[in-house]
């Protein structure tokens, strides 16, 4: 493909522009030459000064184009329908207390256990698609089969997206610029409609609305969380989402989970909040580095969840009243 002119190359693979841009290669005026001819125009001094490795740039281009083509073409065949965890052992070598655990898309699994009990290890096992080759000896299956090694090594196809309490936006961009940049890196066909979708979803989750022109760094905690969740649900390529506690303030968590689940994600959620933990069909109990047992949320618990939700909505109403500057009356608790 590199014997073609740069112009032809860009026509066929528009994303090659990113390769030139990221490698700081200004191709303006050289469109009718091949990439090799273009590289040959640099003088020895320029090559040294700009630290240009001609041979590497030339041989990397086809690799890059190949990766990008795969990335674009894999939408269908890389679809993940289910994740299966096969038991290993805990830190003392005791076999884990379950047979086989399968989670399908649109399902939520919660993970409970004290800090340091092995939640990170479980996540790392999933991310690495462990095949009995990690300290826990667990194995991970995707769609019921031993997964393709691409999940381990490809930087554009990570299996797990993470959302955690400590995450912040660090880029100095507006919401619009930020989303456009993410959409471009995912090579979305129609960025504008995707951006509109994300903004609508994020504003639906956040207590207070925000604009496309707001800098991401000045969003409130709740707004940031809402934007991160909407963006992960709609734009992230990772089929599995791990949530590490979502704060109660400023965001509708139930809607947030619904958004992720309707986007065909497999949701794993580390939480000790009863409202969230009981929403999951199953919960994994982690102790001493291993999965101690798996609890199926009972009907009794589901009924309790409804009552807890009522209590929660009372608190939310009180919060809303305070925000509007009203006084609270004891009637709030009257049945």
């Amino acid at each position: 493909m590199t014997y073609r002119s740069i112009k032809k190359l860009l026509e066929e693979y528009p994303f090659a522009a990113t390769y030139f841009e990221q490698n700081k290669l200004k191709i303006d005026g050289f469109e009718n030459q091949t990439f090799e001819e273009y590289l040959n125009h640099f003088s020895e001094d320029e090559l040294e000064d700009q630290a240009i490795d001609k041979a590497k740039l030339l041989s990397d281009l086809p690799v890059y184009l190949d990766q990008m083509r795969q990335f674009l073409g894999m939408e269908n065949d890389r679809k993940v329908h289910s994740l299966t965890i096969l038991p290993g052992h805990d830190k003392s070598g005791t076999t884990e207390g379950f047979q086989e655990l399968t989670v399908e898309t649109s399902q939520i699994i919660s993970i409970v256990g004290p800090t340091g009990s092995g939640k990170s290890r479980l996540l790392a096992d999933i991310e690495w698609t462990a095949q009995g080759d990690t300290p826990t000896g667990r194995s991970i299956l995707i769609n019921g089969q031993v997964p393709d090694m691409k999940w381990r090594y490809s930087s554009n196809n990570k299996l797990v997206a993470q959302l955690s309490q400590n995450m912040n936006f660090v880029m100095d961009l507006t919401v619009l610029e930020f989303l456009r940049m993410h959409a471009e890196s995912r090579m979305v066909q129609d960025p504008q409609s995707v951006i509109d979708k994300i903004i609508a979803a994020a504003n639906d989750l956040a207590g207070e609305k925000f604009e496309l022109t707001t800098p991401v760094t000045s969003l409130s905690g709740g707004q940031s969380r809402a934007l991160m969740i909407a963006d992960t649900a709609i734009l992230s390529s990772s089929p599995i989402v791990l949530i590490d506690e979502i704060e109660n303030a400023g965001i509708d968590r139930k809607k947030a989970l619904k958004l992720l689940v309707t986007s065909d994600k497999i949701v794993l959620m580390a939480t000790h909040d009863p409202l969230l933990a009981l929403m999951a069909d199953k919960r994994i109990v982690i102790k001493n580095g291993g999965i101690n047992h798996v609890i199926y949320t009972s009907d009794e618990e589901k009924q309790l969840l409804e009552k807890l939700e009522k209590v929660d909505s009372l608190i939310q109403t009180a919060r809303q009243e305070l925000r509007s500057g009203n006084t609270l009356s004891p009637d709030l608790l009257a049945d």
């Binding site: 990113t18 390769y19 990221q22 490698n23 700081k24 040294e48 630290a51 490795d53 590497k56 990397d60 690799v63 890059y64 990766q67 990170s120 290890r121 996540l123 790392a124 991310e127 690495w128 080759d133 990690t134 300290p135 381990r152 090594y153 930087s155 554009n156 990570k158 997206a161 993470q162 959302l163 955690s164 400590n166 995450m167 912040n168 936006f169 660090v170 880029m171 930020f178 989303l179 940049m181 993410h182 890196s185 995912r186 940031s224 991160m228 963006d231 992960t232 734009l235 992230s236 390529s237 990772s238």
Partner: protein, 233 residues
């Protein structure tokens, strides 16, 4: 002995990543030593010592740190062999983002962090572009979107490298990194005659003049040696 060359901008998390990675080597009874290269100051050797890891440090002072690396790596490898290490890791900060200390026959790992901004992959030269593995750190404190964008910027300047996320605090990903680093079949007795992957910028010593071969015979001019202790042969 295995040799692995770690490099990366200052404060990107190299030492944390190496420490977490070494703990999974210890579980497999692999003896690891570290040589830390820096320019004016480092106290990372204390962190390694605390973890019971044999460590030496070399400060380049007035010399270019990567030139200093190239003129010392031979002796450093000899030290590692004398210590009967199974694995020697060298760690050096890429202070000007231009140099890279990687040798052609030796695994090179570049550590960069998500907080450094998405233009960082553009700013870093051969240190990032010529690495076999790129480890991205501090992923736990930025958004998923920024992680994805950052990783895609990295892969567009170095599409061949394996890019992975490692958390230097919890060690998530370090076990996996370790499994990619150690090669039972590799036994490096000496690096004499090996070549740098990319020539360093010009200045005053033989490496400044484009020398890529390793070995005392090829060194001229401003060469500084680490005091590795023991008797000089």
């Amino acid at each position: 002995m295995n040799l692995i060359i770690f490099s990366g901008p200052p404060s990107s998390g190299k030492t944390s990543v190496i420490l977490k990675t070494i703990s999974s080597f210890h579980a497999k009874n692999i003896k690891v030593g570290v040589v830390k290269f820096d320019c004016l100051y480092t106290d990372d050797d204390v962190a390694y010592e605390k973890a019971g890891i044999p460590v030496k440090k070399g400060l380049s002072g007035a010399l270019c740190p990567d030139h200093f690396f190239a003129s010392n790596i031979e002796e450093v490898v000899n030290w590692g062999n004398e210590e009967k290490l199974d694995l020697l890791i060298t760690e050096s900060a890429g202070l000007c983002n231009r140099c890279s200390p990687y040798l052609k026959e030796v695994k090179g790992v570049c550590v960069i962090d998500n907080l450094s901004g998405i233009n960082t992959p553009k700013k870093i030269g051969p240190m990032l572009k010529a690495a076999d593995l790129v480890v991205i750190t501090k992923g736990d404190i930025v958004s998923q979107a920024e992680r994805e964008v950052f990783a895609s910027c990295v892969s567009s300047v170095n599409p061949r490298a394996i890019t992975m996320h490692v958390n230097g605090l919890t060690g998530q990903g370090a076990y996996e990194l370790a499994s990619l680093l150690y090669d039972e079949n590799q036994d490096i007795q000496s690096v004499q005659g090996m070549q740098l992957r990319f020539p360093m910028p010009s200045a005053l010593c033989s490496y400044c003049l484009g020398e890529t071969r390793i070995g005392e015979a090829y060194q001229m001019g401003n060469v500084k040696k680490i005091d590795l202790g023991g008797d000089k042969k």
